[in-house]
Symmetry: C2
């Protein structure tokens, strides 16, 4: 451990707040994507605050003494490239910050579908009073694909309001504390027909990329709604568009997309059974401070040579659950 | 009890479904508002299926042998006029049918406010990708004004997702099983400043009419949202409009209105911090069948001379809680 370590901070338009304590204990190099390689040379640690940046692989050649990378997100796919994966560099993430906010967002879109809020807003804009009957959420079935902390928070909240929830994870199990039953991801298609709501919150890995394709949508109920709060690349977007257009499924709430921002020519913008939000489901007021707090806690541990929190299994592509 | 009683059914555009069993056990006279007086003459019971109709008082003079009135709603204000109140005619309501659906609606609008869904929809309609930070619902405070079964279902659901909930009822109490603390309605204004969400679900009586006036809105936080799933007449609408327009409160979700349908010239239609829905918060798919089932159960009890369910205390204006 050097006397004063060099910490590189990759940021976008905003600098991370509340870094004073860290600045007192490290030489901090703030950089945007274009200066990353230069800023990595001689650096001991990298804080990827711009957590959607794809610039790390291209600058990796300059990382000549890096020992630790921390990313300000739950998903680590932007930094899981062979150079980092096969190195001794430790990778940590921001597990925990987004769990409950994303679960609230998911519950909100389920209620928005059940209570037909989008149509109410549209009718209100035309001053039309049109009574409709709406759905009850209690007793409906949700399949949560992804059994990490965010998936667990979603399961807990949906169960608290009366939905029946099952999970889909890497391995099948019958006695999961949050899900009860977890089905194996390689049997996903067998379990999709049971669900009123299918919620994608899996980490993006080579095993999960494109797992929601036409075969998956064909297996869903025509009344089912699909929710994606994981990664856009979990979905074959053209297959989703076809499924929504052809009534194969009833609707979708999408917070993440294969290309972000969602391109202007995407048909998803204008489909009336689709709710688009701009990758913000977990971003509550104060989230930036919370992210820096998670990093600062790990920074103090790193300096004190204590075990880091949220160490990613770089082969799996996520932090293994301790449960 | 006559051999075959005469039952008058007041309906609107739709007839109640599933009446075959009742038709086999009574002479059933179906009528709309304009035929009500004639249909009441000689009738033993009245089923007010058109539960928002205000025609009963004007036809009451013809009710020469009526012993029972059942209304297909939770609120009984349309039939609580002096002639019925001061008579020996028993009044029952449809307590229970709407509890959980209305609670889901309330949770839905709270999440819609917290997660800024209306703005997301508006931005989507313009294909604009604009990230925002949103609110967490966990830890927020809700004040539920009305401690009947619907208010209790709301309290249970909001508490299940992490809100702090207190109630406002006729009498203060400290150990309510659903609310914990219930404040007395005559101290409402003292407790409004504590709430992030104020939810009106009280029965409409002479004591509650207009209880949400400028004095009440002035006492709320500027960040507070007001939700009305009770009756429009609980609110002084012009005071609410002023409070919303002047930023005295942050928003409102309104399912009921002083005049329904909401008049075309109401400013509520176009206020961007207002969610308007057409008196449908409890009306789930199957609600009409459920309402007739509640009536049919009471009809069988009435014919068998057993105690009726949901007997309204005509002085209080609602079914007293048994808890």
């Amino acid at each position: 451990m050097p006397e004063t370590p060099v910490l590189t901070v990759l940021h976008g338009d905003r600098l991370p707040p509340g870094m004073q304590g860290i600045e007192a204990a490290a030489v901090v190099r703030y950089t945007r994507e274009d200066g990353l390689a230069e800023a990595l040379r001689g650096a001991d640690a990298l804080f990827v605050y711009d957590f959607l940046s794809k610039a790390v692989p291209g600058a990796w050649h300059a990382a000549d003494r890096l020992r630790w990378v921390h990313i300000a997100s739950a998903g680590v796919d932007p930094v899981l490239f062979p150079g980092l994966r096969d190195s001794d560099v430790v990778l940590t993430n921001s597990r925990g910050v987004f769990d409950r906010p994303i679960a609230e967002y998911v519950l909100g879109v389920l209620l928005a579908f059940a209570k037909d809020f989008a149509r109410s807003a549209e009718l209100q804009s035309r001053k039309r009073w049109l009574h409709r009957e709406t759905e009850r959420l209690t007793g409906k079935r949700a399949l949560v694909v992804g059994t990490g902390p965010i998936g667990r928070a979603i399961a807990g909240l949906l169960r608290a309001v009366g939905l029946e929830v099952t999970g889909v994870g890497r391995r099948a199990r019958a006695d999961d504390p949050d899900f009860g039953t977890v089905h194996a991801a390689d049997r996903l298609v067998d379990h999709l027909p049971d669900a009123d709501f299918v919620i994608a919150v899996a980490p993006l890995t080579e095993h999960t990329k494109g797992m929601f394709d036409s075969r998956a949508f064909d297996a869903m109920r025509p009344t089912a709604r699909f929710v994606n709060v994981g990664r856009g690349e979990l979905v074959v977007t053209s297959d989703l568009v076809d499924a929504l257009r052809d009534g194969v499924i009833a609707g979708a709430a999408l917070d993440v997309f294969e290309t972000e921002p969602l391109p202007q020519d995407s048909p998803l913008w204008t489909m009336e059974n689709v709710l688009v939000s701009p990758h913000m489901s977990g971003d509550f007021v104060g989230w930036r401070d919370a992210l820096v707090e998670v990093f600062a806690d790990n920074f103090r541990r790193w300096r004190a040579d204590r075990d880091l929190r949220n160490v990613v299994d770089k082969q799996l592509g996520y932090v293994p659950s301790t449960r």
